[in-house]
């Protein structure tokens, strides 16, 4: 039986549409995974000596003190990214396989997930370093086993709370509050949690406690899944009550308003697009890293332009990048309805422009960091409107991966962002304005640099009609390929 399950899993992995991607995207993915492994390894080996150097106490005790944040962060990260094991259960339900076996297999599968294995790259080297530094082996092993169990506890907690946003947000807010109050020294949660982890080290046999909790959680998850393994139970798609909205205030924009109404509903009602927009909103604060001097590497003058483009272009990058894939599930309708390509494209363009303007207004607080900071934001906004808005639409013509609006799981690490042509198009989006600024900055003065970038943006604005005709042509040329690609889910 297990052989069949593993065979199915093997095929579903290697035959999935996402797997068959461009070879160099695979390389990029591998590099990404390698990067994480190296970071964890480096942390594992280096953490001990680093903490020792800082002389803030026994490295193991310090690690234990902050372990609660490590685990909390892990849980949040898992909640957002880890896939749930229920996806392939449906076709197995009516086959002569006992439900327990199916559930056991699905849960067992999560054990070997990357989200669990990755931690080994931190904990194993860290424990080895402890041993070489003369910590008593028995105690280190006890501690190690206890934390391993806790990581797996997280795994099963995540399985159980998945799709229960309330639980997630409560936990997330609790930890943000805890972190903030620690930072401002109101209340230090680690004073209470640190000793728990020390305990596993001081009395190694207590490691059995987290293992017992783990077994309990496993059975909890098992019972939960088994009980809900019905089409109208845990396997049912969640239905939200729909409300008809008219958004009549947009009617004054004519045909454009029709599309804008639709796009607003698209953003509001689908998980995937909502998270893209939220991610975009966070970009507004990205500039803080630059303008507060928080990171030394960002102190160079061009980084200000870089920041300005990101601060106002969050929506442009997170949402605009994937036009027209947002409409992929009903693209044939859009292509055969009474819609001119130009109208469709300009509605997306206006959406990006409106969002950029809103971001610029919200980013007014950068004035606090001096006129130069806000000038960078303003100039970035002009460049985004004048140049980058065309570039994302242009790049979109080559994006041919359908988006599943209702699922959030592929939101990161999706191959569509890494299409050779779209990647090339990011160069003028980011590098060109920095270059233009540099010319002004070094030849004349910083002010001239800003003016140069702004003029460039305005020029793009002037040529709107010409550029649109060109982009329209590209979309028309790519239309049949795009339709074909969206069919394959």
């Amino acid at each position: 039986m297990l052989k069949h399950f593993i065979g199915l899993q093997w095929k579903s992995f290697f035959r999935s549409a996402t797997f068959k991607t461009e070879i160099w995207f695979k390389i990029l993915m591998a590099l990404g995974a390698l990067y994480f492994i190296v970071v964890f390894l480096g942390m594992g080996v280096g953490a001990f000596f680093l903490i020792k150097e800082m002389e803030i106490g026994d490295p193991l005790r310090v690690v234990n003190q902050f372990m609660i944040y490590y685990l909390a962060f892990d849980l949040v990260f898992r909640y957002m990214l880890q896939k749930m094991p229920v996806t392939n259960i449906k076709p197995l339900l009516y086959l002569p396989i006992s439900k327990s076996k199916v559930v056991n297999f699905s849960l067992g599968k999560t054990v070997i997930s990357f989200f669990n294995i990755a931690h080994a790259f931190f904990f194993i080297p860290f424990s080895i370093v402890l041993l070489t530094q003369g910590y008593p082996p028995l105690q280190v092993i006890g501690w190690h086993l206890a934390l391993m169990a806790l990581i797996y506890c997280n795994n099963f907690i995540n399985v159980m709370v998945n799709n229960q946003n309330v639980v997630f947000y409560v936990i997330a807010v609790l930890f943000i509050v805890a972190g903030a109050s620690q930072y401002y020294q109101w209340f230090d949660i680690t004073i209470y949690t640190g000793p728990i982890f020390d305990f596993f080290y001081d009395i190694p046999w207590t490691a059995i406690i987290p293992w017992m909790i783990l077994v309990g959680l496993y059975y909890g998850a098992f019972a939960y899944f088994k009980k809900h393994m019905y089409l109208d139970g845990g396997l049912a798609k969640k239905q939200t009550e729909a409300k008809t909205e008219n958004l009549e205030w947009l009617d004054r924009f004519g045909n454009l308003g029709t599309f804008l109404k639709n796009d607003i509903k698209l953003i509001k009602r689908n998980k995937r697009s909502r998270s893209a927009v939220i991610a975009g909103a966070f970009f507004i604060f990205y500039g803080l890293l630059f303008f507060t001097g928080a990171l030394e590497v960002y102190d160079g003058p061009f980084w200000k332009i870089f920041a300005g483009i990101f601060v106002t272009g969050g929506f442009l990058f997170s949402f605009g990048q994937y036009v027209p894939s947002w409409d992929s599930s009903y693209y044939p309708l859009m292509m055969s309805q009474n819609i001119k390509y130009r109208e469709y494209l300009s509605s997306k363009w206006y959406l990006v422009i409106i969002a950029t303007i809103i971001s610029t207004i919200l980013a007014t607080f950068y004035i606090y960091f001096g006129w130069e900071a806000y000038a960078a934001v303003l100039v970035g906004a002009i460049y985004n409107v004048g140049i980058n808005s065309y570039l994302v639409l242009w790049g979109g013509a080559y994006v041919k991966t359908p988006i599943d609006l209702t699922s959030n799981k592929k939101a990161f690490g999706d191959k569509q962002a890494f299409n050779a042509k779209t990647l090339l198009l990011t160069l003028p989006k980011l590098v060109l304005p920095i270059g233009i600024y540099a010319i002004g900055h070094f030849l004349i003065n910083p002010m001239a640099g800003y003016i140069f970038v702004a003029v460039f943006g305005l020029l793009g604005f002037v040529f709107k009609n010409k550029v649109f005709t060109m982009i329209e042509g590209i979309y028309k040329k790519e239309k049949y390929k795009t339709l074909q690609a969206y069919k394959q889910k």
Partner: protein
């Protein structure tokens, strides 16, 4: 109304459609039948410029569909669920299509009131998004949406599949009326010989991409079709 000239569609070595000439006059109810893979959906997709012909072309009321977009205002279609926008409620979807076709809310409401029977109380005011409706109800929405804005050509792919018997009977009445009373050219494809013979004045049989029969519907049509498909 619609003229097909030397139209072929090939994928690699495989010719999936090859129609030398086909003329569909205005106001005709036109039925397309054939087994799986006969090329029905391919022909409809070509009519809507969703795929490119390998050779030849289609003229829809003086507009060559793969050259100009001007056929869009008077042509509407429901092929499959990719013509529905999952995150809209049925009402929003109808108004959206209405606005694209220059019809305001009142116009759309007036049209929808004619279909209350057809909807059987399961579509309007249900507080559900289209993606949460059953397949049959989704189909009803798509079909009715294709009637919005007085199109001159309506293309429906397999409209009877997935519908319950009551709705099938009502749909047959609607399609007949469209062609007879309003002069709309209706193109329907189906696997169900009984439905097509009842609804369509003319039936074309496709087999492996080629037209093998072109019949003006009469009392004998059903027998003729059965004889053909029985092989």
């Amino acid at each position: 109304m619609i003229t097909v000239h030397n139209l072929t569609k090939t994928y690699g070595q495989n010719t999936v459609l090859n129609i030398e000439h086909l003329e569909i006059p205005k106001g005709q109810s036109f039925g397309l039948v054939g087994n799986n893979g006969a090329g029905k959906t391919t022909l409809f997709s070509l009519l809507l410029d969703l795929i490119q012909p390998s050779s030849g072309h289609i003229i829809n009321k003086d507009v060559q569909v793969d050259q100009s977009e001007d056929w869009k205002p008077f042509t509407s279609a429901f092929i499959d669920e990719t013509f529905l926008i999952g995150y809209l409620t049925p009402e929003e979807y109808f108004y959206f299509i209405g606005e694209l076709r220059g019809r305001n809310k009142a116009d759309v409401d007036a049209l929808l009131s004619n279909f209350e029977d057809f909807f059987h109380g399961e579509i309007l005011g249900q507080k559900k998004y289209l993606r949460d409706l059953s397949k049959g109800n989704q189909k009803k929405v798509g079909i009715v949406a294709s009637f919005i804005g007085n199109p001159e050509v309506v293309i429906l792919d397999e409209p009877f599949a997935n519908l319950d018997p009551t709705t099938q009977i009502r749909l047959k009445g609607i399609i007949k009326d469209l062609a007879a009373k309003e002069g709309v050219t209706v193109l329907v494809s189906s696997h169900d010989l009984i439905h097509v013979t009842e609804v369509c004045e003319r039936i074309v049989v496709l087999n492996k991409g080629e037209i093998v029969k072109d019949i003006h519907t009469s009392a004998e049509t059903m027998k003729e079709l059965e004889a053909f498909f029985a092989g």
